[in-house]
């Protein structure tokens, strides 16, 4: 006997058709979503035109001659420069403040400024010089404001300071010159402008990181960042020599402008700090590469800052040196201070 099939009434038929249609639609939407997700993931993960510098971000361990002692984070953000004062007190300019720490990183004092500072120097008597964009603010060792010196030019952008026994030098990224003051703020001269009679090649400053230091040999040192060199000048502005070469290799400086910071060890050797590939290195007194203090792999957040949406103008590192030869690295992205000492 043949089985009898039950005929559907109109209501059941319409119900059946609408359920089937809904299921089919759901399946199609799911399939399209999966395809879209896969396509999107493939597109973002595979870039045939990727810019790969991962090899440059790894440092040969044999070249690293320093180890970390301690580190701390500055309570203030927007850090720009670090300077070590008497008693190895660590000074950091961060936004509208100068934060002072003891060598272990404990906060000791704070000095308020009238604006954000880009540069900092501390004299042997503890006097603090803060370089704001268009003027210098001078404080005594207790943080009391002593004087304000206006920058000599309306286009000035002060980004580096150095203080000696009788002289203060201000590196001006805006005017591409080093201003020479006495301790009272009187302008004495200018150093480093392009001048054939003084053999001065002129500063190339694609980004505002021009710095100056007074070496134990009695000459000024300036990081001519666009030429990727550290140059020597007399106080009178005579060009005496330079070292540094353009390369992505570990013994040189790369990118548009490096080294963006440097400091002097007690024995006259140089500590350099870079951006793009954030790394800190040691060069001897004639500029020959010696070793690495910390490589780019030590500063992953800093390296990523130059890989984001913005250019690398505010990434990079700055360095200071204390009386014992310990190196203080200031990370301009994470606001961390790392203290490094030579490996035993």
């Amino acid at each position: 006997m043949k089985p009898e099939f039950k005929l559907l009434d109109r209501r059941e038929f319409v119900n059946f058709v609408s359920r089937s249609a809904a299921l089919l639609g759901l399946a199609k939407v799911g399939s399209e979503s999966a395809t879209a997700a896969t396509t999107s993931a493939e597109q973002t993960s595979t870039n045939a035109f990727a810019y790969d510098v991962s090899r440059l971000q790894k440092t040969d361990p044999k070249l690293i001659a320093y180890e970390e002692v301690t580190r701390w984070r500055s309570p203030r953000t927007s850090v720009r420069q670090i300077a070590i004062g008497p008693g190895d007190q660590v000074h950091v300019c961060a936004g509208h403040y100068i934060s002072v720490f003891n060598p272990q990183g404990q906060p000791a004092a704070e000095v308020a400024l009238t604006g954000p500072a880009d540069s900092l120097a501390v004299a042997s008597d503890g006097t603090i010089y803060a370089g704001l964009r268009d003027h210098v603010e001078v404080f005594d060792a207790k943080g009391q404001r002593q004087a304000v010196w206006a920058a000599p030019d309306r286009k000035s952008w002060l980004t580096g300071l150095a203080v000696g026994k009788q002289d203060v030098f201000a590196a001006d990224s805006g005017k591409r010159v080093i201003w020479h003051f006495d301790l009272a703020g009187k302008l004495l001269g200018r150093v480093g402008e392009k001048n054939a009679s003084q053999n001065a090649p002129g500063f190339i400053v694609p980004s505002p990181f021009l710095q100056v230091a007074i070496h134990a040999d009695g000459l000024l040192r300036v990081n001519n960042i666009g030429r990727h060199q550290v140059e020597a000048y007399t106080f009178a502005g005579e060009f005496e020599g330079a070292w540094g070469r353009i390369t992505t290799a570990i013994d040189g400086f790369c990118g548009c402008c490096n080294p963006i910071g440097f400091a002097l060890l007690p024995d006259g050797r140089f500590v350099t700090a870079e951006k793009g590939l954030p790394r800190v290195k040691i060069y001897n007194h004639v500029g020959e590469f010696e070793s690495v203090v910390a490589g780019a792999e030590s500063f992953p957040e800093n390296a990523r800052a130059c890989n984001g949406l913005n250019d690398c103008a505010h990434g990079g590192l700055d360095v200071g040196v204390d009386g014992q030869g310990r190196i203080y690295i200031l990370d301009l992205v994470t606001s961390e201070v790392r203290v490094m000492k030579p490996r035993a």
Binding site: F49, L56, P201, T248, A249, C254, C256, G276, N307
Partner: protein, 192 residues
């Protein structure tokens, strides 16, 4: 004389009323059509696609997803922002053999960047748009180490303005947006 209305019948429209109503309908129809045309034209020609440089992730999709055989997206140079660097990381490969214009030293896969000596130590970098494929590799190199003067823009003399931008649909940074046709480029400005 008009015919008198029959009993129980509605008032017929007079000839005058008929012409008056007809004229009104024609005027309204014309106005509607004109509004429609203007509205349509405003959507098509009044707005164009452009890349916001602040959101661009240099993913490479601009080179591969444009409906044109050679992408309408090109690298452009903000000369006021450029450092005119000797070692331009937008021009040179990450580890060049030497700083010359030899092809093996260049970053651009199509050699679309022209390097010209200005004076020691400055070099000018210009884009040959006939060669540029909009891959963004130079943009990444310039941003990573330099001032970020290279950036990508849709060139409207090449774009088909098809209104459904194939790159915008796959842009991971959602950098594509509609901008007024009167100011069709989103240019970088120099920090003061």
């Amino acid at each position: 004389m008009p015919n008198p209305p029959k009993s129980g019948q509605v008032n017929p429209v007079s000839r005058r009323q008929f012409f008056r109503n007809g004229a009104r309908v024609a005027a309204m129809t014309g106005l509607g059509a004109l509004t429609g045309v203007l509205a349509t034209r405003g959507t098509a020609a009044g707005w164009v696609w452009q890349i916001d440089p602040a959101k661009c992730l240099r993913c490479g999709n601009c080179a591969t997803h444009c409906v044109l055989e050679q992408s309408a997206v090109k690298c452009v140079q903000a000369y006021a922002q450029c450092g005119y660097c000797q070692l331009c990381t937008g021009f040179f490969a990450p580890e060049p053999n030497e700083l010359t214009t030899a092809a093996e030293n260049q970053l651009c896969p199509t050699s679309a960047i022209q390097r010209t000596f200005v004076e020691d130590p400055y070099y000018q970098y210009s884009i040959d748009e006939n060669l540029c494929i909009g891959c963004g590799k130079c943009v990444e190199g310039c941003l990573r180490f330099g001032n970020g003067s290279f950036f990508l823009q849709i060139r409207h003399d090449r774009c088909l303005h098809c209104n459904e931008c194939a790159i915008a649909r796959v842009c991971p940074g959602e950098a594509f947006r509609r901008v007024p046709a009167q100011s069709p480029y989103l240019l970088k400005s120099v920090a003061k």
